[in-house]
Symmetry: D2
Subunit: 380 residues, 4 copies
């Protein structure tokens, strides 16, 4: 009899949907040692969460996240609420002895992220941060090729994330526009980029940055007066890695007709690797050791059976989508169950948050900031 692992999801928005999709599909795609069972989901609006539970195939809907954390049938608490709420929930789940999976960014600020990471470490529970894009075959292959030395020593990294989510100035104010409640654009979109940067290249030491909020006031909803926007709409940063590599980082939510276009490129001593999310089944690679007559980048179809994260998926050429990242994440976590160490974990999430916070501070203070300034200050 295959063992069941009980899943409890906190939050029923897009991420709740994506992860319940991941748990539902994972056993269909990959042979797993355990079977996930979607036990319970929580949300503040009773009717909405009930509807979500029905849609996502989750057995029970509750309106208090504490019920998820305390449910004895739940083995993994999956946190999908806004960033500002993560630390408290993670802490409670860890103390209840649950394994924890937390959406990115880990928190709205580094102190809170460190608190969350500290809680799971203290409790000794398995924990993971939701950097789902790592699980795409193409980005997973990018990592493997860097590790195989196919581009030599990495020297230059660039990552850009362009969306138009905030473009329209008539979008009414909500929590995403309040820095204290939501994440900065730097952390919301950029945490994925920073994760990829550090995963591929290593530690970021210092940063310089700039931010801009073009629409500083937005209409209130339901007849409320306009409210001030204090979150960034676009930010860019220079990164200096510990290795001496240089990085360029940009995130924006005001780029017209750019829905979610993120791109990452690494140039090393020997080669170049490039990924464009809009064509997520492809990875571009150029090897300077090849003869000049073949000069150029090749478009690898990152769906070959020899590629990572393709196990159980479709024949080459058919293509996966966004959803595959969640399926692969769920499968990876369950495949390691009941092992103790998942990767990337909340400590990674906190380290990424430190870089994001350094970028935010560099933009505010108009000077280069060492990431250590963030982590040490928090440590004090």
């Amino acid at each position: 009899m295959i063992h069941e692992v009980g899943i409890g999801i906190v939050g029923y928005g897009m991420m709740g949907k994506a992860h319940s999709y991941g748990y539902t599909v994972a056993p269909h795609i990959r042979r797993l040692p355990v079977r996930p069972r979607l036990r319970v989901i929580s949300g503040r609006h009773r009717d909405a969460v009930a509807e979500a539970a029905a849609l996502y195939g989750i057995e029970r809907a509750v309106d208090d996240w504490r019920e998820v954390v305390e449910d004895p049938a739940v083995d993994i608490v999956h946190v999908c609420t806004p960033p500002g709420t993560h630390a408290e929930i993670v802490e409670a789940a860890a103390q209840a002895g649950k394994a924890v999976v937390c959406e990115k960014p880990l928190a709205a600020n580094y102190a809170s992220a460190a608190r969350a990471a500290g809680a799971v470490a203290a409790a000794g529970v398995p924990n993971a941060i939701g950097f789902n894009y790592r699980r795409l075959p193409a980005l997973s292959l990018m990592k493997r090729m860097v590790e195989e030395g196919r581009i030599g020593e990495p020297r230059l990294w660039r990552g850009t994330w362009l969306s138009d989510e905030f473009l329209d100035p008539e979008i009414p104010w909500d929590w995403r526009f309040a820095r204290a409640e939501g994440a900065s654009t730097i952390a919301d979109l950029g945490a994925h980029l920073i994760d990829l940067a550090t995963w591929l290249i290593g530690e970021v030491e210092t940063v310089s940055a700039q931010s801009q909020t073009f629409t500083r006031s937005r209409p209130g909803t339901g007849g409320m007066p306009p409210r001030e926007v204090d979150n960034d709409e676009a930010s860019s940063a220079l990164l200096r890695f510990a290795s001496g590599a240089l990085g360029v980082f940009e995130t924006a939510k005001v780029a017209p007709r750019r829905p979610c276009d993120f791109a990452v490129e690494v140039n090393g001593t020997r080669g170049t690797l490039r990924f464009d999310y809009a064509r997520l089944n492809e990875l571009w690679y150029g090897d300077a050791q090849e003869p000049g007559e073949l000069y150029g980048l090749r478009r690898i179809r990152a769906e070959h059976a020899s590629h990572p994260q393709t196990e159980g998926w479709w024949p080459i050429g058919q293509g996966v989508g966004y959803g595959a990242s969640f399926v692969n994440q769920a499968a990876d976590l369950l495949a390691a169950w009941p092992e103790r160490h998942w990767t990337p974990d909340l400590a990674t999430g906190a380290a990424v948050q430190a870089v994001c916070e350094a970028i935010e501070r560099a933009a505010v203070e108009g000077r280069w900031i060492a990431v250590a300034e963030v982590t040490q200050h928090a440590a004090v």
Copy 2:
């Protein structure tokens, strides 16, 4: 209490997997009036089908397809076996009063396809043919834009499907290389193209064609002697539509480093639409009525909420994959349940098969063949 619809799947290969994925995910993506329940799957190898049932989340595994057809808990029989076996299974399922979904191509020849289509018509059961690509947002949008008149009157159609499935001459002989057992490459890959052609442009009247088998003998498996290959590896055809439009058609299984690259383009009196499966979330469109200063094709991100087949999927820019076509197909069928008419149905499958057979005959006989020659001959 939501009504359950019992699904029985005949065949546990890639298509069995894809469709069980579709039924599993459909209720997660779209609110449906009924809930599919994967009751039973059949296959000739008892252990393998049991393993597949476990992986796909199907309740029961049997080694005789008749058990699927006869199971009273089964409302829909989903036929995923090789083409040569379809007609008999469809016939039995229809006679048992089951709704039938059959994989493409509908049969290994037109007579058999017509028999299958006749059986469901006679039985009056809901029936559908597995032209899953129609359910991709981009191709569905292509159809809608043609109907909206955005390219005017269609005049030229071209469709190409390139794979390398048969490239290696050391691949041992199996049923796919025997014309009598499997489908021709014309029908196997090309049925999708012909379906898109007739869906977008209308009836094909006459065809001219050529075929080639480059590797005419293949190693036997397990110490068996080499066997002759009598199925085509590459074929191309000219199509003349009833409307006067011209079509060009090509399929190949010997195109190196082309995994499953299909592309379809239509040029009309006013505009051009183009789809490349390798970038399946995009649709290219050029409108000759726009000012010359904007001359060119635009790359529509076929993921906008206003686009067909995007309901319930991810935010724009995230992208879906091959799997979405099966999910949308299952959702469309279930959304219409217990309605009587699904589309495309087996009659469409038979009509497509008639064109494929006309192409095959045109290649053999070295002359233009009217599709009516195929259908009338069969009718006699």
Copy 3:
């Protein structure tokens, strides 16, 4: 003292411009043993040809092509008039002992093309046909890579040429719409494709084809009544090569927002090569002998110093345009001067015309036509 080669150009339209550009630039790009001197240009409209001569930097303008042919200062007669006039001019030039370069298609029909080719052969003069695209680095590299065996034995060829030159039904009638005066679309655009096909793959043996003229009557100019159109606007063909390879061919002048988009692909036993003219500095290559983990096509930047037809051009990455094909053609011809044999020559032009004519006849007669039927019939 460097030897001068006198150039005389017959025709002052776009091709007259392109080739005078080629002769002007060739010595700037490549060290040549001789220096071209643009002696004379002819055209029927005295003022217009004088203006063209001034613009193109040609010493003398005349309104009778015979003056070009008879000019003792002219060594090479470059024929840039409509196809229907080529044979007579070529014949006269050959009889005058001039080297002849003739624009494609060589003639409006095969008989006339054979006459032109026969004339230069009889006279023993150097002669060349204007298949300028061969001189692009990327297409030249494609040829070299086929010859190097990088795709193995070619099996499949496809070539498509899409333009919208005839799309607007309000374009008034002119000679391009009269089959007897101009070339068919098959030959006008398609001669380049057929040249590339035979250059890369070898002889075409038989063809099947279809043609369509969608706008059968066009307004007259200057108050003239509408006139009938009897030239094809779109045609497609199946080609069977002597080697057993299959080809697919399509040309159209009614493809909206497709200005001059031609693409050629070859699939061999080992690899794939693909060229898209819209990105003319690139060549796509896939090698099936590479490990699966690199599966895909690579985008070769066909500007490397090791590539053919790059000598004297810009550093890699800067890119050349259409004009480079004329410069390289002029340079190749002059570099071989006063050698006797240029390639491709008028015999090649006639052979290509035979295939084009076979395609035309196959479309009219609705049956497969052997190219030999065209050449033998003409020989009779």
Copy 4:
């Protein structure tokens, strides 16, 4: 009788070749009020410059640039030497009353650039800086579309220039690796980007930056000992425009298999424009005012007759290359002759140099630098 304008070129390297090509072809492409005559070229190596003169079609070769400046037959002195030498030559040419065209970057530092700009201003001679890429149809169209308001108010700019010119550590030391003699990579490649940034968006106020030299010592040539490299190989910067727009800038000469890949994108309140030099005949445009069902960027074929800088070039779809930028530049300058004001002029060149120098200083000093710090310091 058409007036001749005498051209004198200082420097016979790639730029001397490119500009003599430009002057040679310009009258062929565009009807001009004057005819350029390539009178003289100078270079330090007598034989090499003589050979270049022969190849480029220049009447006279000299080994002292002063002869060019003093030649009474010369109307325009075209400066194509290394940046460190520009100011002195420009000054001498201006004092001799010659019109001056100077290659970019205008100088190796701002003080020297300001001196050059001051000299032509004082002399009142026509003067131009060689930002040739502005003359490409696609970039010229980009500018026009920004001015037409098609993207609304620009907010975000990004420009990246990747080459692999310095990648190989075995490339021996030459002047390009010495900061004092050549330009920084920031100015060498980046001056084009900064020019495009300020042309499209306006004044840059402050910058932050980082630079890296990965290979700090290179072999000497001809048995010389290794020499230290003090020029940057890769640099990146954040730009803050006076308008409040944000910019991201990156240049590198160590990006494997990236020959000369530059890309520029602008996001405004209403739309997005993007240019990739590797596909230089295209411009990507997205308009947020269009209906969502057409969401995406369109690929404008920047060759339409209505587009700027296409006059006299090939029919749409044929494509131009790098050379067209020089032809169009020469044509624009000559078309305005003997007008007094060319654009962009050396003052623009100096302004761009100020931004480049601010970037260099920001990288060295590790702090945000106001461009005014550079210009005011120089002014003192």
